[in-house]
């Protein structure tokens, strides 16, 4: 079998984080993401038809870890967005590279 269905809690995981994880695995798998109010479903299909169930299982473990990491990145990005923009504005404020 080269397909599998994963389900994620939207209260915990953001859709952008899931999509970024899918993108990172897009050389090996094809994804279909469906978002509902109670769950986000990710349908995963391997690009290789001869993938073994064990290999698919290991890859899905890696994928879930990637989702966790992407979710954390989203959290850090949201928490630091204003200061990131502040630093960039300060960095280029006297360079003539941006409009005052």
């Amino acid at each position: 079998m080269s397909t599998t269905l994963l389900s994620f809690d939207p209260q915990v995981y953001s859709t952008p984080a899931l999509l970024k994880a899918c993108y990172r695995f897009s050389d090996r798998f094809v994804f279909d993401v469906k978002s509902e109010s109670s769950k986000i479903e990710v349908h995963v299909e391997s690009r290789r038809h001869d993938i073994s169930p064990e290999a698919l299982h290991l890859a899905m473990q890696d994928f879930r870890t990637e989702v966790l990491d992407q979710n954390l990145r989203e959290k850090v990005r949201a928490e630091t967005e204003s200061v990131r923009n502040l630093i960039l504005a300060h960095a280029f404020s006297r360079t003539g590279l941006v409009n005052q």
């Binding site: 990172r24 050389d27 850090v76 630093i87 300060h90 960095a91």
Partner: protein, 491 residues
């Protein structure tokens, strides 16, 4: 310094770094990427990196990291967080970010003049699709050269470097002589001018070397390794490319000084497995380092299938073996460096940018280098003209006799490529801890995937550079001696 705090700082009941409840600190912007199954690499907005166990990173991001730990102190001293003990982190980061991007304001400093496409070598991996020696239709004219000089001198950069490339540029030596004289005359001392001839040295004459000595022109040549390998890679009539290169290097050094003669190698399938012999060749000639370069996917390298002759993994194996050998030489007291690693390390360990076109974001196209081709066409980079010789002139920005400076540098394709490929904001790169060290390379991605950005999961550029960044950091983390050595390479 963070590691010297008053005792009250470590007081778990009353210290400002850690109160009775949740530690009080604010996250600063950072990115992280897996280094290995146990560790992440984190980089801050200015490109400084730290390596942390995965658990520490999660604790840090969830505001659970104990303020008395070494990880906390490292994070704070590198502006990954601010707490009651730090109040200048934002300003410090801003200064570091500004320093890192300083070169962008200087615009294009490197101007490549392809004075001819003719060549007397017939290298199967030639990335510029050279033409035979006798077809003068492939020479730049003095009228085109005049217009190109005017464009080059419009650049706001104080330092202008003009590099003569080919084919074999010495086949049109009179034009080189003309361009050097005219550029100096037109600049009237207002710029710091540098000139380099990229030549295989096979037809170098005493007249050429005397000219280089008088005019302060440097020489960059090709040396692929020991005699057998070099001659196999670089065939010419007489099968004496190596002998001519070695003799040329010696004569050039005598004429213009050792420090003004450099050499570059290209890795072919025949080079694999011989990295130590290649490095030994450079050592024997008393070069101070080597640039271990893979083939680029252009010109005859594609046509003759040289480019596909080895995979990224096989090249990385070659590169890592070479780097190990260079480190071993240094351990024995022989000062020698690998130049690609040195450029990456400069980005990792300092706030300077070495300005290497492939590793620039915004992309190096037109900003890092500009090419005036033999027929007067202007290209956004050396790779862009290589792509054009394959029939794809996507990155042709105009013509020296037909377009103005503004028309060339405000070319829509160029602006679109620069904006679309800015790695700060493209998929995967935007979250990558190595983004500050990497580049956009829209030309290579366009050439291989017909897209300025390219799908990074399928990008050989991404796979190769990610592997190198991780390898360099792992080496530094595993051995303090290597960290010290790499720090000297970065300076």
């Amino acid at each position: 310094m963070s590691k010297f705090q008053p005792l009250t700082f470590y007081d778990r009941n009353g210290g400002a770094g850690r109160g009775a409840g949740k530690p009080s600190y604010e996250l600063m912007p950072f990115r992280f990427t897996e280094l290995d199954p146990q560790r992440f690499v984190l980089s801050n907005q200015a490109g400084e990196y730290l390596v942390l166990p995965k658990k520490d990173l999660y604790d840090f991001a969830e505001h659970r990291l104990d303020a008395t730990t070494e990880a906390y102190l490292d994070l704070r001293s590198h502006q990954f967080l601010i707490d009651a003990h730090t109040n200048v982190a934002k300003e410090l980061l801003a200064i570091k970010v500004r320093t890192r991007y300083e070169r962008v304001a200087n615009f294009t400093g490197l101007h490549i003049f392809v004075v001819t496409l003719r060549c007397e070598h017939s290298c199967p991996y030639c990335q510029v699709s050279r033409q035979s020696e006798d077809s003068s239709a492939f020479d730049m004219t003095s009228e085109q050269a005049d217009a190109a000089i005017d464009l080059a001198l419009r650049s706001p950069s104080k330092a202008i470097k003009i590099e003569f490339q080919g084919g074999e540029p010495l086949l049109n030596f009179p034009l080189i002589r003309y361009i050097v004289a005219e550029t100096k005359r037109k600049a009237q001392g207002s710029r710091e001018l540098g000139f380099v001839i990229a030549t295989n040295l096979a037809i170098v004459t005493d007249e050429v070397l005397e000219f280089c000595r008088e005019e302060g022109v440097c020489i960059s040549t090709s040396l692929d390794g020991p005699q057998d390998l070099h001659n196999k890679n670089r065939p010419r009539t007489g099968r004496d490319s190596y002998q001519r290169a070695i003799s040329g290097i010696k004569r050039a050094r005598d004429a213009i000084g050792k420090e003004n003669v450099s050499a570059l190698m290209t890795t072919t399938e025949a080079s694999l497995g011989h990295v130590k012999e290649i490095i030994d060749e450079y050592l024997a000639l008393d070069f101070k380092g080597i640039f271990l370069r893979p083939l680029s996917p252009y010109g005859f390298a594609i046509k003759t299938k040289s480019y596909r002759a080895y995979s990224v993994d096989r090249w990385l194996e070659f590169y890592k073996e070479g780097l190990d050998y260079v480190i071993e030489l240094n351990r024995k007291g022989i000062a020698f460096r690998e130049f690609y690693a040195s450029m990456v390390l400069k980005k990792m360990l300092t706030f300077e940018d070495p300005g290497y076109v492939d590793l620039m974001s915004p992309a190096g196209v037109a900003l890092g280098a500009i090419v005036y081709n033999y027929d007067g066409a202007v290209f956004a980079s050396d790779e862009a003209r290589m792509l054009a010789e394959m029939g794809d002139d996507k990155f042709r920005l105009g013509h020296v006799l037909e377009n103005t400076y503004e028309e060339i540098f405000l070319n829509e394709t160029l602006l679109e490529a620069l904006e679309a490929s800015f790695s700060y904001s493209v998929p995967m790169c935007t979250d990558c801890a190595f983004e500050p060290y990497c580049g956009a390379d829209p030309v290579q991605h366009w050439g291989l995937q017909k897209d300025f950005v390219g799908r990074k999961t399928e990008s050989e550029f991404c796979a190769r550079n990610m592997a190198i960044f991780k390898h360099l950091i792992k080496l530094m983390e595993s051995d303090a001696g290597i960290k010290r050595l790499f720090t000297t390479w970065a300076q």
